[in-house]
């Protein structure tokens, strides 16, 4: 299983949808760029269209022009970089783990999902792959709204305060061993709680280099960003 705990090192650098700020998101170019820019892992989204597993964030109408999961794994395989596969598709657990096995990447991959059934099913078909529970599910585009918008701010504050109390059951019920959290709901307490449970914490999506010292300070294990250039010293 891929090691994600930082121990005494720096947080892991994770490219979001490749390096979405620098190339079309989830494109092979964006993924290649994330590798080139020194990311430790590259995150991307997987949808199923019939038999085809394609890499795209929103459910596509047709697989034309989209990279397939196989193409992405083929690209990442020889780089040695870790794979963060965000599984958007439902009932695609078998083919996804099959592809990871085929490329010999099970031990180098974390599969994350918002959905508890997806994670449980993944645990059933491939117990050796690391699972991450993504939270909260951003159905409403909450995280994309301007930060000062009062209701969104209030919800985020409530979540941040309550999360340390239920993060344990959130992980346990989905068989996940990693918390993949929106950075605004993360605080020192929840990171400590996760670490006590042996679960590393990855935060999304951080494009502001000014946040890095604080995230480092509270002990997050990995930072997911659209722009890996923020990690430059």
């Amino acid at each position: 299983m891929i090691e994600l705990a930082r121990h005494d090192g720096r947080p892991l650098r994770i490219g979001h949808r490749g390096a979405a700020a620098l190339a079309p998101e989830n494109s092979l170019e964006a993924i290649g760029l994330a590798v080139e820019l020194g990311c430790d892992l590259v995150e991307f989204d997987v949808h199923a269209l019939g038999e085809a597993l394609v890499v795209a964030h929103d459910r596509p109408v047709s697989p034309d022009g989209l990279p397939t999961l196989d193409e992405v794994l083929e690209l990442l395989g020889p780089t040695g970089v870790g794979v963060h596969l965000d599984l958007k598709a439902q009932r695609a657990e078998q083919p996804v783990t099959g592809a990871l096995r085929r490329h010999g990447l099970v031990e180098r991959t974390i599969v994350s999902s918002f959905r508890r059934p997806t994670l449980s099913a993944l645990h059933q078909v491939e117990p050796a792959v690391r699972l991450g529970r993504t939270y909260p599910q951003d159905r409403t585009g909450l995280t994309k709204r301007p930060l000062f918008q009062p209701p969104a701010r209030a919800i985020v504050r409530v979540l941040r305060q309550a999360l340390p109390r239920y993060i344990g059951s959130l992980l346990a019920r989905s068989k996940a061993t990693t918390a993949v959290l929106y950075w605004e709901v993360v605080g020192e307490e929840v990171v400590a709680r996760c670490h006590a449970l042996g679960a590393p914490v990855l935060v999304w999506t951080v494009d502001d280099a000014a946040l890095l010292p604080w995230l480092d300070e509270i002990g997050v294990d990995g930072v997911i960003t659209n722009d890996p250039r923020i990690f430059r010293d």
Binding site: L22, S27, L28, E29, G32, L33, V35, E36, E71, L75
Partner: protein
């Protein structure tokens, strides 16, 4: 007697010119010396190339055979059927002679209709068919779309097998049968296919990155240094023209290199360990000992790479590899 003979010749001439019925001709040719009467109808069971003319008069038989021969030949092309009248391609049949002969043969005889084929006329027709249905083969082309290489799909062409077509048509006419003639085409293979394309390099000058593609498939991206504003790397479509391992560096004829001496291969060589010269004059992709320049517009027009990157790239491109340099 002499006058009678002339008269007979005259009548014969009229008969030939005006197409008088065989009966009349037969009657006249007796020349009054005998009284045998020619048969008014053809014996039972006689056929002319499959047309039953038994018990028909000359006129009836003539019409039947003429109509039978005039049936068009159908040529079949995928999604099309071409109908060709024999007259259109200059084919003719000796209907009169055949019917005349039919009047003289015993019952049950199978005669063949003599047909004259017109090679030139048929050829002219088939040329027109070929012009309509032949397709040139289309080669794949390498383009740049949205700063990515796009390779258009090649198309197989076809050319009408004219001799076979002519044979088919002629057989139909000669046997006076009209089976459908399926036109056949030979495939024309395009000389450049999608598979013909190997590596493709796209250099984005603005972001100082070099993208390597295998055909249309992205393979790797590298940080590079490109030309500073005084010595911009030229935009456009180029290709690799030379590949040198451990190159010498010779000072170019430019103000910035004035007074510089050639540098032999070795650690301080400005070209690193690999040189991939482009068709753009004086410009190439090479390694650099100046690692800190990578990511910046810092060179004198060349594309600099980290030395290990240049060595890797060197092994993955060939002389002739297409290099697009774009401004993005």
């Amino acid at each position: 007697m002499k006058r009678v003979g002339l008269l007979i010749l005259f009548v014969l001439g009229l008969a030939a010119a005006g197409g008088l019925s065989a009966g009349v001709v037969a009657a006249t040719t007796t020349t009054g010396t005998t009284t045998t009467t020619a048969p008014a109808t053809i014996a039972s069971g006689v056929t002319i190339s499959g047309v039953a003319v038994g018990d028909l008069t000359y006129d009836e038989a003539f019409t039947a055979v003429t109509e039978s021969f005039a049936r068009p030949v159908t040529l079949v092309v995928p999604r099309h059927r071409l109908v060709v009248e024999p007259a259109k391609i200059g084919a003719m049949a000796y209907v009169r002679a055949s019917v005349n002969r039919a009047l003289t043969v015993p019952a049950g005889t199978a005669l063949k209709l003599r047909v004259i084929l017109n090679r030139k006329g048929t050829q002219r027709y088939l040329d027109a068919v070929a012009k309509r249905f032949d397709r040139e083969a289309v080669d794949s082309e390498l383009l740049l779309r949205n700063q990515r290489p796009v390779i258009t799909k090649e198309q197989t062409g076809r050319t009408l097998r004219q001799l076979r077509a002519m044979n088919g048509i002629f057989t139909a006419l000669v046997t006076n049968t009209r089976p459908e003639v399926a036109l056949q085409f030979s495939e024309l293979k395009p000389s450049v296919t999608r598979g013909s394309f190997g590596p493709v390099i796209v250099i984005r000058r603005g972001s100082n990155r070099l993208y390597l593609y295998k055909g249309m498939r992205f393979q790797r991206v590298f940080g590079v240094a490109t030309g500073q504003s005084a010595y911009p790397t030229p935009l456009g479509s180029w290709h690799v023209v030379v590949k040198w391992r451990n190159p010498w560096w010779y000072p170019p004829n430019a103000p910035w290199a004035k007074g510089e001496k050639p540098v032999p291969p070795g650690p301080g060589n400005p070209l690193g360990t690999r040189w991939m010269g482009l068709s753009a004059s004086g410009v190439g992709i090479h390694g650099t000992p100046d690692d800190t320049s990578i990511g910046y517009s810092a060179s004198h027009g060349c594309i600099r790479m980290h030395i290990p990157d240049a060595e890797w790239l060197f092994n993955h491109v060939a002389v002739g590899t297409q290099v697009f340099i774009v401004s993005a």
